[in-house]
């Protein structure tokens, strides 16, 4: 079971949370000025890194607050969790087992 550390409630099981997709996707300042392609890029296109990835999570069964987590998409290790009003912390990718390729 994956455990996430809610910034308000502490470590809890993954089943208490829901995933909310990529974090830090800035809403365009003037959506009306965008063409369809740019608007679609904002709405639908997300990063898909192999490695640390900042995501939104909500502690549905606990305090019901949204927060951000940096998770390594290769090892599934949660490298950091932080409140939405805090900047993304600089974290290095978790060590991978010897010989494992991406």
């Amino acid at each position: 079971m994956l455990q996430l550390t809610c910034p308000w409630c502490g470590p809890r099981d993954e089943t208490e949370f829901h995933h909310g997709g990529q974090a830090h996707v800035a809403r365009p300042a003037d959506p009306a000025a965008l063409d369809d392609r740019e608007w679609a890029a904002y709405l639908f296109f997300r990063d898909n890194p192999a490695g640390p990835f900042a995501e939104r999570w909500v502690h549905s069964l606990g305090c019901r607050r949204w927060f951000h987590a940096v998770r390594d998409t290769v090892t599934y290790a949660v490298l950091a969790t932080y409140r939405p009003d805090e900047p993304r912390p600089g974290v290095a990718a978790a060590a991978r087992p010897e010989g494992e390729s991406r």
Partner: protein
């Protein structure tokens, strides 16, 4: 919009587990590994929301007679019941009986500041699990660490037990109160009775 609880014949009110009163009593386990389950129906509950460090929270605390808890797991006993921490700006005030909550005084305390005071008595019911084996029963399906060093009496957390979302409150030693939504209460009661069964049998080495 939730309506305030209408003043009416209190004798007509029934808890969501009224039909299981006999079954809960029959599930009682006695002896050294005793554990008992009962519903505490129709407790008055009030949802409170306010900025935790703002003047509204301070005025609410004045009405309650105790400062609102500020950290996950903390509770505060006041004149009108116990305030359980649900979120950074959210509390559940649980009374010890069905007497009306001081909604007018609490709403007045909120003043013009953002927040809410809502009677949610019908939202949840209270199941009380009591006895030396109460923690063992819960640990079969409740993930947070319930050891007294991590979850001593006086704490409450919002979590899940038996896959039912609930508020788990530990008001005193060997006593746990589970506050599920009314519609989940029947399932949770049956889950708990099933989990209690083994403690009535001789322990296997």
């Amino acid at each position: 919009m939730a309506e305030p609880t209408a003043p009416g014949p209190a004798a007509l009110r029934r808890g969501p587990l009224d039909h299981l009163t006999g079954a809960l009593r029959a599930a009682t386990v006695t002896g050294p590994r005793a554990v008992a389950l009962a519903e505490l129906p129709c407790r008055t509950m009030t949802a409170l929301r306010a900025a935790p460090d703002g003047p509204a929270a301070a005025r609410l605390a004045e009405v309650l007679g105790a400062p609102l808890p500020t950290r996950c797991g903390d509770t505060a006993r006041g004149e009108h019941g116990t305030a359980l921490w649900l979120g950074p700006d959210e509390w559940l005030l649980v009374a010890e009986d069905g007497a009306p909550a001081p909604l007018d005084a609490l709403s007045a305390a909120l003043g013009g500041d953002p927040g809410q005071v809502v009677d949610v008595s019908a939202q949840r019911t209270v199941l009380e699990l009591h006895g030396p084996s109460a923690r063992g029963v819960l640990e079969k399906g409740c993930a947070p660490d319930l050891h007294p060093r991590a979850f001593p009496p006086g704490r409450a957390v919002s979590t899940a037990a038996g896959q039912v979302p609930l508020v788990l409150w530990h008001p005193a030693a060997d006593t746990y109160r589970l506050l599920p939504r009314a519609s989940f209460a029947d399932h949770l009661a049956h889950w708990l009775m099933d989990a209690m069964g083994e403690y009535g049998l001789p322990e296997v080495d």
